[in-house]
């Protein structure tokens, strides 16, 4: 009767419980309570939402632990928080505080431009971004228990999230059709761990939950990502940068659950006020593109 903590089943299982749900970025207790009341499955505690990180410039770091603590005390749903890519100590601090999931996130300024965290060495589970199957498999290999396909955060533009969701799905489909003797070369091409690709081929799907993230600005955007096969949706700047966050949050939650009910999504989208102003990603200088961070 030995009790085992931090097993794959426990870490990945937590993300499985989030499926079909919306995880919302919040910067204080009040926003966290609005998110919970509107039906968010979890909140991501941040110092600034991505669009404000963009506006502020400079180095974006882990949130002030006071904010994280305030959010943890405000809600009973799980609380996630972001650490910089490769920042072992930020991640350990968040783990010590008891956050339920850590996002090793390209939204923050990377602390290491070569190595990601060895996430399997932590008790707390991690979610990581990916743009293709190679990146997804590398993160799983390092111990990520959940993925989110990357969009371009803080832009209100869904195009990158769509591109990457389609890409990962297509690469998984291609892999499942391969012969066993083709997997090693595919691993070499993708820069992916061979064993992880083998598992994906056998299961016919990723071994962890994969949400969509980055650029979700409307209920229809959220439903689109579900339609494309996302297990759920992260919404960052979209909610609390809109005119009526409470209604907006409610609408996105319902659109995610009933993503093929177009009458409903139409109704939900009426009179929501202005969504956040979007950014055309092709006009975004390369140095400002967050999705390209991660190796």
């Amino acid at each position: 009767m030995e009790k085992l903590i931090a097993t794959d089943a426990v870490k990945r299982g937590m993300a499985q419980m989030q499926k079909g749900g919306v995880i919302m970025d919040v910067v204080n207790a009040e926003q966290a309570r609005i998110a919970e009341a509107s039906g968010a499955v979890a909140v991501m505690a941040l110092e600034r939402v991505p669009s404000d990180i963009r506006a502020a410039g400079g180095v974006a770091r882990m949130a002030d632990p006071r904010i994280v603590e305030e959010v943890m005390n405000a809600v009973t749903i799980p609380v996630m928080a972001k650490a910089r890519i490769g920042h072992i100590v930020e991640a350990r601090v968040l783990e010590a505080m008891g956050v339920d999931y850590i996002d090793e996130s390209e939204v923050l300024t990377p602390a290491d431009e070569e190595f990601h965290l060895l996430k399997s060495s932590f008790t707390v589970p991690f979610v990581c971004g990916c743009r293709d199957l190679g990146e997804a498999a590398r993160r799983i290999g390092e111990g990520a228990s959940m993925l989110r396909t990357k969009g371009e955060p803080g832009t209100g533009n869904i195009v990158e999230a769509v591109r990457h969701m389609r890409k990962v799905q297509a690469q998984v489909r291609k892999l499942t059709l391969m012969n066993d003797d083709e997997i090693m070369t595919e691993a070499k091409i993708l820069g992916a761990p061979y064993e992880i690709l083998k598992q994906i081929k056998e299961a016919g799907k990723l071994p962890v939950v994969n949400f969509a993230a980055g650029g979700v600005a409307t209920p229809a955007d959220a439903a689109l990502m579900m339609e494309l096969g996302a297990d759920g949706v992260f919404v960052g700047s979209g909610i609390f940068k809109s005119e009526d966050p409470e209604r907006f949050a409610n609408a996105i939650v319902q659109a995610t659950t009933y993503f093929t009910d177009y009458d409903l999504i139409g109704k939900l989208s009426k009179e929501l006020g202005t969504a956040m102003k979007g950014i055309d990603i092709s006009r975004l200088p390369q140095a400002e593109r967050m999705q390209e961070r991660g190796w």
Binding site: A9, V10, M14, G21, V41
Partner: protein
């Protein structure tokens, strides 16, 4: 063949579908209230109970599920589902369906970092069951009509009262269908008695 519905608002839905199909029964994902009529049994899956409750209210599921239970049709709740079925939720004014006479505490074993798996003995099962507890609730107290099927560290983690079955852990995260088979037995029993 029995038809088992899984409340499909949020959570580990496909995991339950897979398990139901492994028992040879028909699985239906329930997103609309009128789907309840075609079911012989209903599963409230693991997920976030707050989110599910919010959507159950918005889409009018509470009363129809109470009616479903009143007809004697079996309901099985795992983790969040157990919270939704409990008569009382400690530290909260709002219990949900109140269909099983049990007082639950949410996140009773701690936050995610304290989540765990352990082999436990369950009444009527010969071999231990790998129970995966994720931010799990527990049953602090149960009424006299409740049959406790498993406890762990002095807390109730699996129980039954007439047509209602609950577990604080997630059988749907394993390949072990023995608890689900017990639920299917309950469903078949209720079909036989023609409720």
């Amino acid at each position: 063949m029995a038809t088992i519905g899984i409340l499909g608002l949020q959570g580990a839905i496909s995991e339950h579908v897979k398990q139901i199909e492994a028992t040879g029964q028909k699985a239906v994902i329930v997103k609309q209230v009128d789907q309840l009529a075609e079911l012989d049994g209903l599963i409230l899956p693991g997920g976030e109970s707050t989110t599910m409750r919010k959507l159950m209210d918005r889409y009018g599921f509470i009363e129809p599920i109470l009616q479903f239970a009143k007809q004697g049709k079996p309901i099985f709740g795992t983790c969040a589902g157990m919270v939704l079925l409990a008569k009382k939720v400690i530290g909260s004014d709002t219990a949900h369906l109140k269909l099983i006479d049990i007082e639950v505490e949410r996140n009773a074993f701690g936050r995610q970092r304290e989540s765990f798996e352990v082999n436990i003995d369950i009444k009527n099962l010969e071999q231990p069951f790998k129970a995966i507890f994720i931010r799990a609730p527990n049953g602090e107290r149960a009424g006299k009509d409740v049959e406790v099927l498993a406890d762990f560290e002095g807390k109730i983690v699996c129980a039954r009262q007439k047509n209602i079955l609950v577990s604080a852990f997630h059988p749907e995260l394993t390949n072990d269908i023995r608890i689900l088979e017990q639920f299917i037995d309950m469903v078949e029993e209720s079909l036989k008695t023609g409720v």
